[in-house]
Symmetry: D2
Subunit: 427 residues, 4 copies
């Protein structure tokens, strides 16, 4: 299914009077702070976050899965779903494929469908953390780090194949997340495992087209429960440094030990020109993969505060990072979850754009933590929802995306179309 | 399959000379410390830990599952597997069933099989954290705490049914672990959810035979990632207190926030006469469900130090707790994993029996932490492996269980018998 | 020193036009949501948070202390400082004394001074976690839990003395925070220590006037690093239940293990009628004692969401809790830190008052986590700073407290008056 | 005071018969495992751990300090105390000085005293985390990272001065631990702070003699509670890499977020040739600075397992790390605490030496976590106390150090000599 632009327009018309009023008030306040509202809107519109192809279905935990209905049954339906999101919020104009879940059959048709939905193909993702039915060797004890050269070769080849698919579709980067590690003390030789991982990554790096980038993700635990080969940003950075200048670290918000200062990691990586990508989600306990901004919206703002500072730094050699949502939708309708996530991202980004950086640097020079906090919190406390809504509205999307989604009964139609027992590939 | 006692005996004969030597040396040292070796052996033999019926198969994570072969395909095969464990270590003489995974078809045959394997039926476990194929209402949003009275009723009835099965088999207690909770702020009314849970538990409690006990388990998170209705021992204790004198708290080692002093919780509960059961496993990050003693053997010893102190306290009104292993075997052969777990439990228990309690209390009265630590560590550092081996040997089991298991090529035979793709029910 | 009301008024006059505009806009929006603005303002004004007497000086860590200047040298100067805060924000109309740091010499003069500053005397606090110069027995190894009956007696007597001081000044409650515990496994008998603590608290409880309440605080660690006798809310609740109906649990935000769901604890305690008091601060790693709202403002809002729900529940038997800030001011001017803290508290409270509770309960009944989140975040994202400013303004305080504090150069004058090396008693 | 060698000998004579028996039994078992007992003893004797000069006094927390008596009042007395430790355990033959607490007055006398006590001077430590009475500029807002070039210069000069003192005494390395960071979001510019720290460290590095090494310590939090400039090994390694080949990372056991796999960090650093030093202690919650091995002895063993693997690797370019105890002695007699710590270190080291590395590598190649665990735990469970005692005995030290310390009533004599109120410099 596809959303009818007229329906969105008609619902926007109803919301418009109220929106106009609040946006006008906000505009005045922002202008009063010497902010250029149109530039803010432009930046918000330019900030596009990729949706991973598997995120359109119901996720689960090791204890169970409670599927909703109407999940996409094919890559085509996944693209359609992301297209609907983008039509609603004008902020999710890219899709990030996971191979082997999303092997494109007819490449040209897939590309045309994406274009029709206003979508680009972002980073492609390999998967060596599961065994596929026809797979020759098992990844039970690792992939790129495996003691068996045959398994490593198989995993390297898989990554090279993923690159080939990505090339066909116009992707320009490969994200490697490795579950490799061990669950028991003694099980694995830390140093050999890291060395083998580096060697395997070198082969993959060598197999990338010259204009591609490699993103090396890290994670402290899960699915392994004692040791993960790439356990932290330090290890990822070590590997990326040794791989070459087109290798970067990818930060996933949920992949940190309790209490980690993630915004500092972001700042350090951008300072080194090595932040390649960022995966959004939220969490309270571990890699909970919850809706972005559902748990710690202030932390999200602080991270954006560093991202914006890094992006606005003219000295910086850091490329523009790849943005993706990486959450699991166990209880919420995945589409609604993603709409909430994008809104939270846009709000945090806009708040960070509001920060008076000159005043902040001045407070820092003066060692004035009280005033520095006032500056940050003034930005954070400002209600920027009308600004985000206006950015959407000007881009032809919905003023109130979730409300529209519900009023149009999208899920109901998807269930009718796809059935209540459809299961997204890869879940 | 069943283990041939003669084969165990023959392998014991080979191990005997070396064992004799080390056991004799250890005996002398223990006697020198005024310990009665035969009483220690008796206590170790009396300490039986239940094996949960689902633990005989390969576990997994939300990211995947890498099955080994030869998993039990039926309750009968599960009982046989536990029987083999018990034949090897004489320490796992009970099985704990999970309904609906283990509904006994022919009760008398099941009971006879258990008896033949030297096994008792420990606590039965209900499951309202998953939806079963034919289930009418879903537990997606909770069971005993659900907003819908119909779901609560269904969950209560399921528990009552579990009790009925348990009665048939000779169980005397019901363990209730609830995944109930919410993953997002706002999703659930904390107070109402707790009240509904209490009300539902009251119905279950009322439905128990008069000689049964109810164990209320707690867990801080997973599968819910914001709020779990019974999040900690305090909440479990609150419920157990309000339910009645046959309701108790059950402690699972892995169900705690980082850095929790679990041994203190054990001590407090025993002091209140409210520790009903204990689930063994080990972990580094969350509810990792690793082999007991694989990660923090000293913590395990400290917990046993409290358990022994509580059990030896003649003033205590606490019943003898129900012991069960509650681990997931993702990478190891489940049988070997369980053999290692039982050995770790027996060692920690024996170490705790070694503690010179009079000297310890005296050091405590003197506020002498140096000497108190010396006393505990003296017990912990003593190599008690020969004592455990002797306890096994005297009970007709294997001096070296894992070695025997491997030499007899048990797994190979199980795969031959059951196939390499068999999957234990419930996984 | 005292603040000149005319100066505040004059600075308010400057801020007024801008404030008027934003308040009027906000009022309209709130009215549009069927909220009664004047009632909201009244509630905000009624919400008074006590300032602990020691919070007016520079705090420190075990690594060092970097004192600012102008710290209060006496109880009188502490009262004056809190009076200034209250004059600025009309939200900190109480002081909470710590004995022996704040023994009132001339009770009548102290009371008159407080009255002149518009201040009440909130809960009094005992201190048995430090040794005082003339103290007979040491608390090195505990106080109310000590193995030595003499130490326990001394600690009980100290608490009774604190009550006497509190009675003279008009306090109606005693807060007991115990550092009691042990730093090494084995050092202390958990069960005996808890029993002795209960027995000691019973003596204190018996010594309270009939209209007094006893607040039992808990904390997982620090200054003891293995075991704290009252380690969590469960233990505190156990003690409070056994003490009597005028004993309650006190929750300090910073006293929890990583990732604890504190709002759930608050809800459970209010449900039991056992939440006696609440200490505000913020933290990232441990008991960091940072400015309220500086780190996790959304968590603060979620806690207030439960507090408001509990307070508005007409069935509830929970008394109105005692509110206090409990932070340490190591880097910021303590007065500015407290002004930021009060503002953060008021904002979170006001946001919680904004929550559409009927809609929220309805979403909960429907198991609609998406909409429940929308409702909460709609309240949280609303910029309520003008409402708080208006509440202050109507109460005769400053529209912009920190700005006024800085423009009036209060710290500079305090340093002139008290010197740059003055040290607040108790630090 | 100094220990009378004859008294140690006489007490050894009493302990000898029992020791002989257990050592002989252990020797046989070890020989049986193809281990060369004399080589093990030699390695244990060669493993010398430095005692920091400030560790001889009673530590404290921000809540208070409960001094014991007889604390050393001067550098001379500190050296004497370490000398006594070394006489008792023959394992602490070095002292690590902290400037400005331990500025040597008469260098030649100090050196002679150390030599007489069998002690070397290990790494020297600078202190820019506190303000000293006569200090011109404050470190309240940082030192090497400070916004003010004057403060940075002062801090650099202090480090250069520390190097000068170290040179005089024969030290060959400088340990830099920086408390630098911020406690509030916004307070500090992460990137500038890191850049300034690097620039300052470059100046210090340039000021070291050519045969010196620089150790860069890291810590996630405390005394700053939001951001620490060198927050983790990744940041330390980044700095050390950019400084030069004589700059290394120093790992302090207590300086990690909850659940960190520290042994993996050790392995990675040794693999990069960048592990410069190691600080021993133990902890449950944060940087608790407890007795080594008091809380997690198995983790200590796993760390030593990596250290030994790294040290025995002939390909490794990593220098021999500097070993130091870095604990705080709040409740125990500092001397006894250090004796327990050294024993725990020696035991863990000896256990790691026992690991059958060929078998372990073979199990790893086979992906056999069960057997790998058996190998590690076989080493860990072996009671090696007699081996450590023998290593001490052969080196002329005490078979039972703590017992001797108590029987000789050392503390009592120290109190007589130095008084019950003496306070070690720096505490």
């Amino acid at each position: 299914m596809q959303l009818d632009k007229n329906q969105i327009k008609s619902l926007n018309d109803q919301a418009l009077p109220d929106h106009r009023e609040s946006f006008e008030y906000l505009s005045q306040r922002l202008i009063h702070q010497n902010l250029e509202v149109e530039k803010l809107i432009q930046k918000i519109q330019d900030f596009q976050v990729a949706i991973p192809s598997w995120a359109l279905g119901t996720g689960g935990t090791r204890f169970g899965r409670f599927p909703g209905g109407g999940e996409p049954r094919s890559l085509e339906e996944k693209i359609t779903d992301v297209g609907m999101l983008h039509a609603l919020n004008a902020g999710s104009g890219a899709i990030s494929l996971h191979i082997p879940w999303d092997i494109p059959g007819n490449v040209e048709k897939i590309k045309a469908l994406a274009t029709a939905n206003g979508l680009l193909f972002d980073a492609v993702n390999s998967n060596t953390f599961q065994d596929q039915p026809e797979q020759e060797l098992s990844y039970k004890f690792g992939s790129l780090c495996h003691t068996d050269a045959g398994v490593r070769k198989q995993a390297v080849n898989h990554n090279l194949e993923v690159i080939r698919y990505g090339e066909m579709l116009g992707s320009k980067s490969l994200t490697v997340w490795l579950a490799d590690g061990s669950s028991f003390p003694g099980q694995m030789n830390f140093r050999k495992a890291l060395q083998r991982t580096l060697d395997s990554l070198k082969e993959i790096y060598a197999g990338m087209p010259e204009d591609w980038k490699l993103f090396v993700e890290y994670k402290p635990f899960e699915p392994n429960f004692y040791h993960t080969v790439i356990q932290d940003w330090g290890t990822s950075h070590l590997l990326a440094s040794q791989l070459g200048e087109r290798a970067f670290t990818l930060v996933d918000l949920g992949h940190h030990l309790p209490n980690t200062n993630i915004e500092q990691i972001v700042a350090t990586l951008m300072m080194q020109g090595k932040l390649g990508g960022f995966h959004f989600n939220d969490s309270k306990f571990g890699d909970d993969d919850l809706t972005v901004g559902a748990m710690k919206p202030y932390q999200l703002f602080l991270i954006f505060n560093e991202l914006v500072a890094g992006m606005e730094d003219k000295q910086s050699t850091n490329p523009s990072p790849a943005w993706m949502i990486d959450a699991s939708h166990n209880l919420k309708d995945p589409m609604e979850d993603l709409l909430q996530s994008i809104e939270a991202i846009q709000l945090a980004y806009a708040q960070a754009l509001l920060v008076d950086r000159d005043a902040l640097e001045s407070a820092r020079e003066d060692n004035d933590p009280v005033f520095a906090q006032e500056i940050l919190q003034a930005a954070f406390r400002t209600d920027l929802r009308p600004l985000i809504a206006e950015a959407r509205f000007q881009a032809g999307a919905a003023i109130q995306p979730i409300s529209v989604y519900r009023k149009l009964e999208v899920r109901k139609q998807l269930v009718l179309e796809r059935g209540s027992k459809s299961q997204a590939t890869g879940l």
